[in-house]
């Protein structure tokens, strides 16, 4: 079985590095595709812009979405993902520094599957990523996987 990709939408390179490090520390071997802003994330998912090809690329296993993004904000990206029929069921995990309740409420309203606050303490961060990976990449049955299995 092909190992699925995880899409990380993150503009902060430090956070990107630390996230990937946390993945590796937890021995999560999924490929991590990184995009730097909201627009790029949408391009990646729909195979438009820099990611245009003959066929739309396969959807990732899940999306780790930062909220504070340049160009198109994280919440906008989430909204677009849920609007589009192709990506409607894609698991989206909001991974952000924000502890603001309005962000949390708004994310769930727009259909986020999870809301995880990035802890400052790196050990806690590793633990958070471990649980995230365990749940979303191992335990959770993704509806996307089922769709594609049918197609195959």
């Amino acid at each position: 079985m092909q190992i699925k990709t995880v899409l990380l939408v993150e503009d902060n390179q430090d956070d990107e590095l630390l996230t990937i490090r946390a993945f590796r520390k937890n021995r999560i071997t999924n490929e991590v595709a990184v995009v730097r802003d909201g627009a790029e994330a949408l391009d990646y998912l729909h195979g438009t812009g820099d990611f245009s090809g003959k066929e739309p690329p396969p959807l990732p296993e899940c999306v780790l979405l930062d909220l504070n993004l340049p160009k198109v904000s994280g919440l906008q990206v989430l909204k677009k993902i849920r609007e589009h029929s192709r990506t409607k069921l894609l698991p989206v995990i909001v991974l952000t520094s924000s502890k603001e309740e309005r962000d949390l409420v708004e994310s769930y309203k727009l259909g986020a599957n999870s809301y995880i606050r990035k802890p400052v303490d790196f050990e806690q961060f590793i633990e958070a990523v471990r649980q995230l990976g365990l749940y979303w990449l191992v335990l959770n049955e993704s509806p996307i996987k089922d769709d594609q299995a049918e197609q195959e």
């Binding site: 902060n12 430090d14 956070d15 952000t96 520094s97 502890k99 603001e100 303490d121 961060f125």
Partner: protein
């Protein structure tokens, strides 16, 4: 211009409010009173006046006629008394009585035998002329009290008068003069008529004087000849000479009443007229009207006085209020907006309120902007400030893990310090965010069981430090109205503090409950329940009692008691948001007590 007032615009000088209101009230009140008086009162008043004058005159005339008839009655009583006396009967039956047919008359100039001693008798009046007539009606004896010439007309009495002269009083006119004639039969022992006694009185000054005392200048009575309408007699002969015609009288006097008869007598050929001087009427009328006018002025004044007092009181209140508002709002109103209204307090008030509203609008929009900015800052702090911290911590750890061998012990210690500082900064940021959230969060007021809340917190603390034995006393059923979430934060912070600061004692004790009102110091009077949380921990110096509620204020070193120093600030903020107060009492090494109400 040096005047500060002119900076805000043209200075408006106007009359002060009380003066203005007073002036307007008096002017309007006066005008209304004048108009009402002019249009409506005079008719009414003159009607009333005329009516009352008329009534007055009629009453005066009536009183005069009563006086007259009483005087007539006295004549009748006198004649009755004399005619019934034994003296005159005995005289007429005795030898001295000469009832000869001849027409000779005895003129007596001293009191006759049949007339008892005047002095010894209480006669109702002293008769002027007395005549004794025989049974045929012929005058036989005449007595006059004064040596006046005897009026010859008495001898030519009209026949009907003589015939009807028994038992009656007659007022009549005889040859130009008015006379009163009263007569009574003289009867013998067996009742037979021996003759009659007649009393005559000329109706002259004396007669009137006796009848009615003093006549006033506007109070006259006149006897008129019924045929010629000429004056025969009056009570004021100085003004009304005999022979004056009624027509002439009416030029000068007003006729207040006329009668052809008087009670107690028969009147022949005479008219009795009551008169009032017209001049007297006029002056009386003037006097009455003047009095009426003064009355109405006094009335108007009396009506206005309470009104004016109320108006003055109200304007004074407005003035005081304005002054107070001016003092209170000086800071709120920009100097550019102030106009110098010196006099009228209402205008000052209006100006003030406008300025305040403008100021409030400006301030509100400023505050809204600031609030928005604060929100954005909070958001940025929450999100952006955390990211670099994460990098520092993350890479420090990465360094520690990956490049362990490249670092000596010092290097590793430095890295640990970096990470520790990072974590402390994070908890500071979190505390600040929490504090600012408390300010923004909307309150949801409902009953909160503080006892339950306290037990929950203590249970958690016991679990976290099971090795500690703390004597906790929590009063049951302490319920308060407030936001459950925020009150939980209050209880948590306070109990954690108590737990923390009593850690060094072997016999740690924590107590929570509501304060008995009797124990409250008088200066903290509130009608709300006051709660307390007491511990027997390290306590504090009372001179820091206020300071310890400030954010990041700590009374102890971090190594001694860990914490960022935001707990009490948060508690105070929450209690203030509930409209309450918190304060602390304590002593070093003797524990601390926190009191609060909301």
């Amino acid at each position: 211009m040096s005047s500060g007032a002119s900076q805000g615009g043209a200075p408006t000088r106007s009359v002060s409010l009380p003066a203005k209101v007073l002036l307007v009230s008096v002017l309007v009140g006066g005008a209304v009173w004048w108009i009402v008086n002019m249009l409506w009162c005079p008719l009414d008043v003159s009607d009333i006046f005329n009516q009352s004058l008329d009534d007055l005159l009629r009453e005066k005339a009536r009183q005069q006629r009563v006086g007259l008839s009483q005087h007539i009655l006295l004549h009748r009583q006198t004649v009755n008394f004399l005619a019934a006396s034994a003296a005159i009967r005995e005289y007429m039956e005795g030898p001295d009585w000469k009832d000869t047919p001849a027409a000779d008359v005895d003129f007596l100039d001293r009191p006759p035998k049949w007339l008892p001693e005047m002095a010894g008798l209480n006669l109702p009046l002293k008769p002027r002329y007395l005549m004794v007539l025989n049974s045929r009606g012929e005058i036989k004896e005449v007595y006059q009290a004064r040596p006046d010439p005897f009026p010859a007309q008495f001898f030519h009495l009209p026949q009907e008068l003589v015939e009807n002269s028994h038992d009656r009083v007659v007022l009549t006119i005889l040859k130009g003069g008015a006379f009163l004639c009263a007569s009574e039969s003289i009867k013998g022992e067996r009742g037979e008529v021996l003759g009659s006694l007649m009393l005559f009185s000329p109706v002259d000054d004396e007669f009137f004087r006796m009848s009615n005392g003093e006549a006033s200048e506007w109070n006259l009575i006149v006897l008129l000849d019924g045929e010629t309408q000429k004056v025969v007699a009056s009570n004021q002969p100085k003004w009304i000479p005999k022979g004056m015609l009624l027509g002439d009288l009416e030029q000068i006097f007003q006729v207040a009443g006329m009668a052809a008869k008087i009670d107690g007598s028969e009147v022949y050929g005479l008219q009795i007229v009551s008169l009032v001087q017209q001049k007297a009427t006029a002056s009386l009328s003037e006097m009455l009207q003047k009095k009426e006018r003064i009355n109405s002025v006094i009335q108007a004044f009396l009506y206005m006085v309470p009104l004016l007092v109320i108006v003055l009181w109200l304007t004074r209140r407005i003035t005081n209020l304005t002054r107070q508002i001016e003092i209170d709002t000086d800071e709120l109103v920009g100097p550019g907006e102030l106009q110098a209204h010196q006099g009228d307090q209402l205008k000052v008030l209006e100006q003030r309120i406008k300025s305040i509203i403008n100021g409030l609008k400006t301030r509100t929009s400023q505050l809204e902007t600031v609030n928005r900015e604060l929100d954005n800052i909070t958001y940025a702090v929450s999100h952006d400030l955390r990211a670099p911290l994460r990098s520092i911590d993350g890479f420090s750890q990465a360094l520690e893990e990956d490049s362990m061998t490249a670092l000596d012990e010092d290097g590793r210690d430095y890295l640990r310090r970096v990470r520790k500082a990072t974590q402390r900064l994070e908890s500071l940021i979190d505390s600040l965010l929490n504090l600012s959230r408390i300010n923004r969060q909307e309150l949801r007021i409902e009953p909160v069981n503080l006892s339950h809340c306290a037990k929950e917190v203590i249970d958690n603390l016991r679990q976290s430090e099971p090795e500690r034995t703390v004597n906790v006393m929590i009063a049951d059923g302490v319920v308060a109205q407030g936001d459950p979430q925020l009150l939980h934060v209050v209880m948590t912070n306070l109990l954690e503090n108590a737990w923390k600061f009593s850690a060094k004692r072997v016999d740690s004790k924590i107590e929570f409950g509501a304060v008995d009102r009797k124990d409250l110091r008088s200066e903290i009077l509130t009608d709300k329940h006051v709660y307390f949380l007491r511990d027997n921990g390290v306590g504090f110096d009372m001179s820091f009692a206020e300071q310890m509620f400030g954010p990041f204020q700590r009374l102890h070193r971090t190594e001694e008691f860990p914490g960022v120093g935001i707990g009490l600030a948060t508690v105070q903020r929450i209690i203030q948001r509930h409209g309450g107060r918190i304060w602390a009492e304590g002593e070093i090494d003797r524990g601390a007590t926190f009191y609060f109400y909301f």
